[in-house]
């Protein structure tokens, strides 16, 4: 195999690569050994710290699965609300009327500049002040509100980019057969843009799911993240719990990321669409970003 940077290795390069492999392997082994011996020293490798995840089904039924359920619930509710809201904002930002375009643009840019955590903390305080939400539902509401505000603005940008990637001829042709502006949007532009945006939207779901963890850590939302406290309180196995929780997040998000890139590949190949695919918001470090960072096709 060959790439931009190196030729197919010859005998000398192969020998050198083996040396690099060896050195790297030794370094990696040293780091692992150091980490494991440190953990062993603090009794973190003992069987009773890790075994409960296999032997004790209660740990799953009482903590991990309900927590995962809350995480997914918050993520899905946020996505379902943020999607139409974001689409609306994105389309409004493309309006011909400055009095719609400018304020919407300001709101979107403003919301994008504020950390999600701050939006969540603020919504939580807002619900306390209003007193309309019962206190046990408040964390969920605050998390969802924060996520919706932030992600609606991100989705608005994805939608706007999706519509702008469409060839100008689409609008021209629609105008030529006498469609009005609203019709052009709803019948011609948005349906095409939606296919182009799908991978970016699926990747955005990863971002949302990861951000729910903020609610678990700060607002007392009973999600997967917050279960680390409860489990390690019962079994005193902080590191094991964190590792297992991380693995669950990785599994769920990896499934979503894989689905997004599969979808992207399919859409690129499909003859129906324009073949345009909107890159996920590379912008966001908190973006899952698989579809994002522009791998050359």
């Amino acid at each position: 195999m060959s790439s931009v940077l190196y030729d197919t290795p010859g005998p000398k390069a192969k020998a050198r690569n083996w040396i690099y492999t060896g050195v790297f392997l030794v370094l990696l082994a040293l780091v692992m050994w150091w980490a494991l011996s440190l953990m062993a020293e603090k009794n973190q490798l003992d069987a009773d710290k890790w075994a409960p995840f296999v032997t004790d089904s209660q740990i799953w039924t009482t903590f991990l699965l309900p927590g995962l359920g809350e995480t997914l619930k918050a993520g899905l509710i946020a996505m379902v609300i943020a999607l139409p809201l974001g689409a609306l904002l994105g389309i409004a930002r493309l309006s011909d009327h400055a009095w719609i375009r400018v304020p919407v643009g300001t709101v979107v840019e403003f919301l994008r500049a504020i950390p999600v955590l701050m939006l969540m903390i603020f919504s939580s305080a807002l619900y306390v002040m209003l007193g309309t939400v019962s206190s046990d539902l408040r964390p969920l509401y605050a998390v969802v509100t924060g996520l919706v505000l932030y992600n609606a603005s991100v989705i608005a940008e994805i939608v706007r980019a999706g519509i702008l990637t469409l060839p100008r001829g689409q609008t021209d042709a629609a105008k030529a057969i006498g469609m009005r502006k609203g019709q052009i949007m709803t019948y011609v532009l948005v349906p095409q843009a939606v296919t182009a945006m799908l991978p970016a939207l699926v990747s955005q779901l990863v971002v949302i799911l990861k951000d729910t963890a903020l609610g678990g850590a700060v607002l007392g939302f009973a999600d997967l993240m917050s279960m680390n406290r409860q489990i390690s309180a019962n079994y005193s196995n902080t590191i094991a719990t964190m590792v297992v929780i991380a693995l669950i997040y990785i599994a769920v998000n990896f499934a979503l990321t894989t689905f997004a890139s599969w979808l992207e590949g399919r859409l690129r190949k499909s003859q129906k669409g324009t073949g345009a695919v909107v890159a996920g918001d590379v912008a966001e470090v908190d973006a899952g970003g698989a579809a994002g960072v522009g791998q050359a096709p």
Partner: protein, 224 residues
């Protein structure tokens, strides 16, 4: 309405200064770590490529909150790793930076890797024809061009990093989000004013960064 700013009870500027410090240290660290990861991911050694790919795919899918909290609860409280000692506040600050670097490095890596892909194959072929080694091709020919191409994506990573430093609030680092939480609880009659102050702070941090680096990105982009 904004009299809570003059009461002397809250050090808003101090909190934002911590945010800025977190951002700068993490930015430098993740630039180094991300470049190293990108180097591994494009290297001719399969094991390094595998490590780079695995690291990026695994760490990117873990919530930053979990990483930062893991640094605090796992490394510090369980394994007593203090990263140079000091008070628990100083340790928390450094642990937060460690978590931010581990996480942000993956995004820097992906940005740089996409930049490497923008360098025409001919450049590297010409360099190899001159007899340069892989390391020389990478550091003298490809990375300089790649970096100029990825300033815009890296700017976005930096802006997101700035916002992500608020996650340090979860382990009690006294930065903007933590202060805002405290102020919202104490000044419950002025929550809109408090939120406006902190929102404005972040707009002031991120907006100039974006404009300035956007201008730089246009200036230095390699015209092809």
């Amino acid at each position: 309405m904004f009299d809570f700013l003059n009461s002397g009870q809250y050090d808003v500027l101090g909190a934002f200064w911590v945010t800025v410090q977190l951002t700068l240290y993490s930015a430098v660290g993740s630039l180094i770590w991300g470049t190293a990861l990108a180097g591994m991911r494009v290297s001719p050694v399969p094991l390094m490529r595998a490590f780079g790919t695995a690291y990026v795919n695994i760490v990117r899918n873990i919530p930053l909150t979990l990483l930062v909290l893991g640094c605090s609860l796992g490394l510090y409280q369980t394994l007593s790793i203090t990263l140079g000692g000091g008070t628990s506040k100083e340790v928390g600050f450094r642990l937060a930076i460690l978590g931010l670097i581990a996480y942000t490095g993956t995004f820097v890596c992906e940005a740089i890797r996409s930049g490497i892909n923008t360098v025409p194959v001919g450049q590297a072929e010409a360099a190899r024809a001159l007899g340069l080694s892989f390391f020389q091709v990478l550091t003298l020919i490809v990375l300089p061009q790649a970096f100029r191409a990825v300033i815009a994506p890296l700017t976005n990573v930096l802006i997101a990093l700035t916002k992500n430093t608020t996650v340090a609030a979860t382990i009690g680092v006294a930065e903007a989000a933590l202060l805002m939480k405290e102020m919202l609880e104490n000044e419950s009659d002025a929550i809109f004013a408090v939120f406006a102050v902190f929102a404005l702070g972040f707009v002031l941090l991120t907006l100039p960064t974006g404009l300035l680096l956007g201008w730089v990105a246009k200036r230095v982009a390699v015209k092809r």
